[in-house]
């Protein structure tokens, strides 16, 4: 019974992304999408990839990490430097997927290097060390020549577009959803629920923690490559501590361990400050008030009944069972 629900939930996540993509295509083709709206598409996808991948470590593995922006920046710079190097050798259609791989793998490599020592730490310590990692990466990038230093990296070909962005978002969501329902995902969730029992049941805790950590970092790197190829300048300042917290907010708001929640939160929380841009000084005040309100409402008991009303699946089931009842009555007549 529950199995079916899991399946449906998963397809709803996929559906959201496909519908968003379809809407984007239709609006762009018909010319109804404003320039501003078009410019939102890639950043929204980047937000979704970041939130869904961080959810793997924070929501499913249950470890608070604050260095997601660090992995994103590693991916962004690796991907951008690669693209600049091969700019004249390869066409964009070959260059960009390779850049994605280079960025993702570099971020994954860094996560192995820092993960092996750091994943021995638990809880708060892990959070602090990953936070420090993000800051160290930022400082290194500012001080290197190859990364353009504090001025930022210019001249990256702007290969990313909304089609690539949506495709990569879908890949991220599919991979992470499939992972979390598989045996590996079960092991990861078991470590979250009870580390000692997982170990005693034969689960190699270090291996699975590292696995979740590395996969999350890979997709953060992918998001970074998308980011780097979407703007003309990539500057290290973008990937600071605030960015990591911002991603964490998306995950917590969408619900720990809920991929669909992460997708929705990542989309809405990108749009909200953009829409409020006209209000200038009041923008961040309204943004934070809305955040606080959503958090309070989301955790309150009363709201869960409202949420149930909004639950599409339940509504469908209700409709269906009433229909069946009606048919049964007809049969009796």
């Amino acid at each position: 019974m529950k199995k079916k629900i899991v399946f449906k939930e998963k397809y709803i996540s996929y559906l959201i992304i496909v519908v968003m993509f379809a809407a984007a295509v239709v609006m762009i083709r018909t010319g109804t999408a404003s320039r501003k709206l078009q410019s939102w598409l890639v950043p929204i996808c980047i937000n979704i990839i970041l939130a869904v991948s961080l959810n793997l470590t924070v929501g499913f593995l249950g470890e608070l990490t604050l260095g997601h922006a660090g992995f994103m920046s590693v991916g962004a710079y690796a991907g951008c430097i690669f693209s600049q190097a091969v700019q004249n050798v390869m066409p964009a259609a070959v260059r960009f997927p390779l850049a994605i791989l280079v960025g993702g793998l570099s971020a994954a490599l860094f996560s192995v290097i820092i993960g092996v020592p750091v994943l021995r730490l638990k809880g708060d310590y892990l959070a602090i060390v990953t936070l420090a990692f993000g800051e160290i990466v930022k400082s290194i990038i500012i001080n290197l020549n190859i990364t353009g230093g504090a001025a930022g990296l210019r001249g990256t070909p702007q290969d990313s577009n909304y089609i690539w962005a949506f495709a990569l978002t879908l890949v991220t969501v599919v991979v992470i959803t499939n992972l979390t329902e598989s045996g590996q995902g079960r092991a990861i969730k078991a470590i979250r629920d009870n580390r000692i029992a997982a170990e005693a049941s034969g689960i190699d805790v270090t291996y699975y923690r590292l696995m979740a950590f590395v996969i999350a970092a890979f997709f953060a790197g992918v998001a970074g490559v998308l980011y780097g190829h979407n703007y003309s300048i990539t500057s290290a300042g973008t990937f600071d501590y605030n960015k990591s917290i911002e991603i964490l907010v998306l995950v917590v708001l969408g619900g720990l361990g809920s991929i669909r929640g992460s997708i929705i939160a990542a989309t809405l929380l990108y749009i909200l400050p953009e829409v409020l841009r006209d209000l200038q000084d009041y923008r961040m005040i309204i943004y934070s008030v809305v955040l606080i309100l959503i958090m309070i409402i989301n955790s309150s008991e009363q709201f869960s009944s409202v949420k149930e009303l909004l639950d599409i699946r339940k509504a469908f089931r209700k409709l269906f069972s009433e229909k069946q009842k009606g048919e049964a009555l007809n049969d009796q007549e």
Binding site: A190, D193, S201
Partner: protein, 281 residues
């Protein structure tokens, strides 16, 4: 089927005693001179222990005697300061907790440790993890091989759950179940790892007499069905005396008596450890 409640214990060449039926086979667990110090405190010392392949053994003793410490040593949660543990003839020293589990020692915990937010069947499938798991790539791609593995694991898990008639609970969250059911799931999860030795840490804690009765029956049924050795730590003397074939009594980290239930009941050292020294009047 091994069903023999009034078993005869006979000595092995190594001077330990095991049930008569296990005498021809090498012991499944043999612990020699085991000891651990925490700083200056010796928690367990000079612990010698042999388990026959299908023996039900008991480890009893007053609170703080070091019983759970022994379990933690056997499962390598603690690395022993001295001594050796041979599981089926293989030394477990230096192995990690998960490796020891894979070698064939499974356990339950004094305070239940389930994966609360996972379903009952997923809890059991964690125990099956090392046998039915597909690789990362096929998991991520959901290949036919992945579905085949999942199906096998599902079937095996249901089969194990049916041992306790718990198939109907399969999709419930483990944390939402009543206490007795949680204890049973913990045992099923431990059995799923296909152990050679099952360690039960106070399985009857918090149970009423009729539930304890059922537990005793279940412990025998596990031994008979799976043909494994079981060690239990327990304070409920009716259970221990009723179900165990050999008993070791621990006090202040040392074994003060070993023998059959009848021998233990009449041992003056044991009575002293539990009730204090009787004064001469």
């Amino acid at each position: 089927m091994i069903r023999n409640n009034d078993v005869k214990m006979v000595p092995l060449p190594s001077n330990a005693i095991v049930p008569e039926r296990d005498v021809d086979k090498p012991p499944v667990l043999s612990v020699h001179q085991l000891g651990i110090d925490f700083g200056g405190l010796t928690a367990v010392d000079n612990f010698n222990f042999i388990m026959g392949r299908t023996e039900i053994g008991g480890l009893i003793g007053p609170n703080g005697a070091g019983k759970t410490t022994v379990f933690n040593l056997l499962t390598n949660v603690y690395q022993p300061t001295r001594g050796t543990i041979l599981l089926d003839g293989v030394n477990t020293s230096g192995k990690s907790v998960s490796q020891v589990s894979r070698m064939g020692i499974a356990r339950t915990f004094q305070n239940i440790r389930l994966f609360d937010r996972m379903s009952v069947i997923d809890n059991v499938k964690i125990g099956l993890h090392n046998r039915y798991d597909s690789n990362l790539l096929s998991s991520v791609l959901h290949t036919p091989g992945y579905f085949r593995h999942e199906k096998q694991a599902d079937e095996k898990a249901m089969e194990l759950l049916s041992f306790f008639d718990m198939q109907d609970y399969a999709q419930h969250d483990a944390g939402s179940l009543p206490y007795g059911a949680q204890r049973r799931i913990e045992i099923v999860r431990a059995l799923a790892t296909e152990p050679k030795v099952l360690l039960l840490d106070e399985p009857a804690a918090g149970m009423n007499p009729s539930e304890t009765e059922e537990l005793a029956e279940n412990i025998r049924r596990i031994r008979d069905t799976f043909g494994i050795a079981i060690v239990l730590i327990e304070h409920d003397m009716n259970l221990v005396m009723g179900v165990c074939e050999g008993i070791a009594v621990l006090n202040y980290g040392r074994i003060i008596a070993k023998g059959t239930p009848d021998e233990i009941k009449s041992n003056p050292d044991v009575i002293e450890a539990y009730l204090g020294k009787q004064e001469d009047r």
